[in-house]
């Protein structure tokens, strides 16, 4: 797998596109700033949300059981999946009992996490993603590069070309309205034919057994209302205690995500309509392991708003695919190592630790601190390249011994010109600092 640093270098080689990506996401961050600053209680809301999540995570088992009991009493089928494989098998089992094998999906990063589309395809079932951005990346055989704006790495020209190939729109047409209409017409057929709809879940309310799906396009509703079977897939951390807690989270979610006051649709699914089957699949997939580790527990507070993506100066200049994970950005970089340390060893290092992420986070996840902790844990697990380990140990030795430090410093200053070579990554696009004759300590001795 290509590392974040290497993938970023490729991304940045198209500097014009990088600037466009950066500006577009910064625009979203600026919108978020504007609407969050209109609320005098913004910082209190963040604190409140964080505390609700703290409380919920401390009593997660209880709230999940309470939800299950209520949901079942409401006529919803509840399933539990320990990992992605079990999740996919459960979903497949539900679909297999239906006569039709056509299926629409909306708003679910969790199914990306489980690679559900590929799994179902291997069983001969085609999943049609109905949200515009997801459908675009699905046509292109790509994965979302952003959890809220899945096709943000693409320009309208790219979408025009993709639709030309897959939907037969005229070549060269890049008019957003025209292309959106083409997608609507194309998706309409799938909605009408589909007997099963899969959606994600933003919040599940333990008190009532209802779940809430927040969308702007309304495809989750269209899918769920037309299909005979609605399967909602969610991580166990999406539970909240009470309906009134939504008053906190719904205000924070859309403002943080896109700078909207609220999402266009905040749909509550409470009771199956007559003749409809509703299933909810709860997924663990490493979440309880994360919950058990006090350093990383807080990451489970995440409401997937992607504010940390939009604010991250590294993400904006490297693109979501450079993170090689379904959830990219700062939050992805602290979630991914929990699932696979070795494959994601580069991600906690894809940050300057500037701390912007932790300060936009609507639930106050200490993202930058967790990045730092992961760095320690991954290096302690022996996942550093040998040259880095040796370099770090040598540096630690030199800096712990003042005499060697002074000699080394003098040598470095005397021969700093040797570092002006292509093997020095600093020198590739930057000059080395001009070495002074005397160090400060040498100057001070003569003073």
């Amino acid at each position: 797998m290509i590392s974040h640093a290497d993938a970023s270098e490729i991304f940045i080689s198209d500097s014009e596109r990088t600037d466009w990506h950066d500006e577009t996401l910064w625009f979203v961050r600026a919108k978020r700033d504007k609407v969050s600053k209109v609320l005098p209680e913004w910082e209190d809301l963040r604190e409140h949300a964080s505390q609700i999540k703290d409380h919920t995570l401390a009593n997660l088992g209880e709230y999940l059981r309470a939800f299950e009991a209520k949901a079942q009493a409401n006529g919803i089928h509840v399933h539990w999946a320990a990992d992605a494989a079990e999740h996919n098998a459960i979903v497949h089992g539900i679909i297999a009992s239906q006569s039709s094998k056509v299926l629409v999906k909306s708003k679910s990063m969790l199914t990306e996490e489980c690679h559900l589309n590929d799994y179902l395809a291997s069983k001969g079932i085609e999943v049609v993603d109905t949200d515009l951005g997801e459908r675009i990346v699905q046509f292109r055989n790509e994965v979302p590069s952003h959890i809220v704006l899945p096709a943000i790495h693409l320009k309208k020209e790219d979408v025009g070309e993709t639709f030309h190939q897959h939907l037969g729109t005229p070549k060269g047409n890049k008019d957003p309205q025209f292309l959106t209409e083409a997608a609507r017409q194309h998706l309409r057929g799938h909605f009408l034919a589909s007997e099963v709809a899969i959606t994600g879940v933003n919040f599940a309310v333990a008190e009532t057994g209802e779940f809430v799906v927040c969308t702007n396009e309304g495809n989750a509703d269209m899918g769920a209302h037309l299909a005979k079977v609605h399967i909602a897939c969610m991580g166990i951390e999406k539970i909240i205690p009470k309906r009134e807690d939504l008053a906190v989270f719904l205000r924070l979610l859309a403002r943080s995500a896109t700078g909207q006051l609220i999402t266009t649709y905040s749909s509550h699914f409470h009771l199956p309509r007559e003749g409809q089957e509703v299933h909810i699949v709860f997924l663990d997939n490493g979440r309880t392991r994360q919950l058990a580790d006090s350093k990383y527990k807080n990451s489970l507070k995440c409401i997937r708003c992607a504010a940390c993506f939009n604010t991250c100066p590294v993400y904006r200049r490297s693109g979501g695919h450079s993170y090689h994970q379904p959830v990219a950005g700062p939050i992805g970089s602290i979630l991914a190592p929990n699932v696979d340390k070795k494959a994601n060893v580069d991600l906690p290092f894809a940050s300057t630790l500037c701390g912007s992420c932790s300060n936009v986070c609507p639930v106050k996840i200490n993202i930058h601190e967790q990045l730092w902790f992961w760095r320690q844990d991954l290096m302690s697990a022996g996942l550093a390249p040998a040259v880095k380990t040796v370099g770090m140990k040598m540096m630690a030795f030199v800096l712990a011994n003042p005499v060697i430090y002074r000699l080394g410093g003098a040598f470095l200053r005397r021969f700093s010109g040797l570092l002006n070579n292509r093997l020095n990554p600093w020198y590739k696009q930057r000059e080395m600092p001009v070495a002074p004759k005397d160090s400060f300590q040498e100057w001070y001795k003569k003073r």
């Binding site: 940045i12 590294v314 300057t352 800096l399 930057r430 100057w443 001070y444």
Partner: protein
Amino acid sequence: MRVALFVPCYIDQFYPQVAVASLELLEKLGCEVVVPKDQTCCGQPMANSGFASSTGGCDANFTTNFDGFDYIVGPSGSCVLHLKEHHPSQKIRSSVYEICEFLTDILKVSSLTAKFPHRVGLHQSCHGQRFLRLSSMSERNEKPFSKLQDLLGLVQGIEVFLPKREDECCGFGGTFCVSEEAVSVKMGLDRIKEHDANAIEFIIGADTSCLMHMEGILRRQGSNVQVKHIVEILNYD
């Protein structure tokens, strides 16, 4: 007031003028400044690279040099933050100050003799800003404040400009600057571009590491813009 001057390793070796300015400024303001001669590094380069387990020697050396001081003052927000968050000695953690916060919060400086009749661009280094709280941040809904701008307000003739994105990271990030070279440089280029738009002569800030990174890019560009640590300005007369 007795103050120990903490001179981070790379400032000692490559930017001695920043330590000289710090020393002179503190003395000018009436402090008795001690410079422990065997000091080296705070340990941050190893710790932020995932090798916090290897900083024991560095930490011990720091303790030997700075034991017993009530005020340990350094011209680098990032190194100071590392000590505050990770040094094993509680006494050290609670005695270490970034120099600007020391000037505003402890010495409560209200006038300076400095003159600097130039247009400068202020870079807000992240660790000083977001964690030592040297100034308010754009992420939060909070009342604007800036200890750096308060101090610069005491300098005659200076014109201070902020870049369009007032507090975006420059991309230095410690070993990030070489391990993620492409992103690091791109971030630096973007900061410089915004400063250039203000037609400034100097980029200044409270963290020499960020300035070193931007200086490297500026010099490669052949730019006339120079970098200076804020204490060099506050000490300039």
